[in-house]
């Protein structure tokens, strides 16, 4: 949905038009939910945050000024709410940062990348994404799921572009090594082939 359509719907929402709200909700709910779920890893909580996020739109639709893509703006709201939910989590609910997966590895070879690309599975990628730190996982999601540009990711994460580059670099190393371990464990890839 482009920003023009979004603006029209927001205008109607400003007049308490429920049908417009429903249309906007359905257009963006899955993306926001996917983003929040990636952050909080809890379906129920992700749904609550999605509803809260969309409720903010209902209460103050004029807050969106069209400076960014609406989805990016919405994710910014969802992010604040997810971070608040995150802060309220008990310590034993926190993710491990998984220091056990090495970031550094011997130089990658073209064959290793090709083989990894061919053998990595969705479940393995999901498991390895889950092992990244929150910031790294969010960064990967924003780039590869949301398709945001470097500047947009920096805006959402509230950090300089160079920090995004660094996060992506470390996330890439960790996820690659995690995937290699998984593939090796399943006996599908000879040890050392991708490293």
């Amino acid at each position: 949905m482009d920003n023009d359509r979004v603006s029209k719907l927001l205008e109607r929402i400003g007049r308490q038009d429920e049908a417009a709200f429903r249309e906007l909700y359905k257009a963006f709910s899955r993306r926001v939910f996917a983003y929040v779920l990636n952050m909080v890893n809890d379906h129920g909580r992700a749904e609550e945050i999605l509803v809260d996020t969309m409720y903010e739109v209902w209460k103050a639709p004029a807050r969106f000024r069209g400076d960014a893509q609406f989805s990016t703006w919405l994710i910014g709201i969802a992010r604040n709410k997810a971070l608040m939910a995150y802060r309220s989590r008990r310590p034993d609910e926190l993710h491990d940062d998984l220091d056990d997966i090495a970031e550094t590895a011997p130089a990658d070879t073209p064959d290793g990348f090709a083989e990894l690309a061919a053998k990595q599975r969705s479940a393995g990628v999901q498991a390895c994404m889950g092992k990244l730190s929150d910031e790294h996982r969010e960064c990967m999601h924003l780039v590869f799921f949301e398709g945001l540009s470097l500047a947009e990711v920096a805006a959402v994460q509230g950090c300089p572009e160079n920090t995004v580059k660094t996060r992506l670099f470390h996330a890439r190393q960790k996820i690659k090594n995690c995937l290699k371990l998984l593939v090796q464990r399943d006996g599908e890839l000879p040890v050392g082939a991708a490293s």
Binding site: E18, R22, R30, F33, H43, E47, E48, P110, V125, L150
Partner: protein, 206 residues
Amino acid sequence: MNERRFDDMVAFYVNGTLSSEDRAWFESYLSAHPEAASEVEWYRSLQRRIHDNAPAVPATIGLAKAMTLIRGDRPTFAERVSAFFGFLGMRPAMALAGLAIIAVQAGVILQMYNATEDSAGEIRALKASVSKEGPMLKINFAPDAKEADIRHLLMSVQGTLAGGPGQLGDYFVVVPAGKEAAVADQLKSNPIVQAVALAPGLPPRE
């Protein structure tokens, strides 16, 4: 230097957000370093897998909760009345007093109206009134249920208000024939409903 630039750009090349200038540089780098293509392919595969892992949820996830929330956000009848008196420059206590006077007057008028109807009882008995024939459902709503929520709920079950609310807060609602039990179950699961019972018809006038 070039390798570092390649590393910084590769993710954004794959997600298609590089500027045309950066994209041209990146593609010329790929031409000069064909071995780097496998890394690009790995990123593409990673992107596909990440999309595959998107949660399979309907677009309506949470929508019912959101609608309840936004309807609850609207001013209640009492708030609207209070706002109206506020608009007239009256203090809340005066507004409440005014409201009480209106309620008493409305009660007197209703009583007079009922008395008139009773005197025409014979004529009324001859006249069929589908909406007041049983069976129907007797429903009690939570004290904080809003008028809009009640209306919306009754519409959702194709219910027609036949009578009420009585002194005990009983609403009598006619629902599609044969669906009384199913509708009753559906209503019971709604948080604004306190009790639902099958009633043979409207109770006699007091």
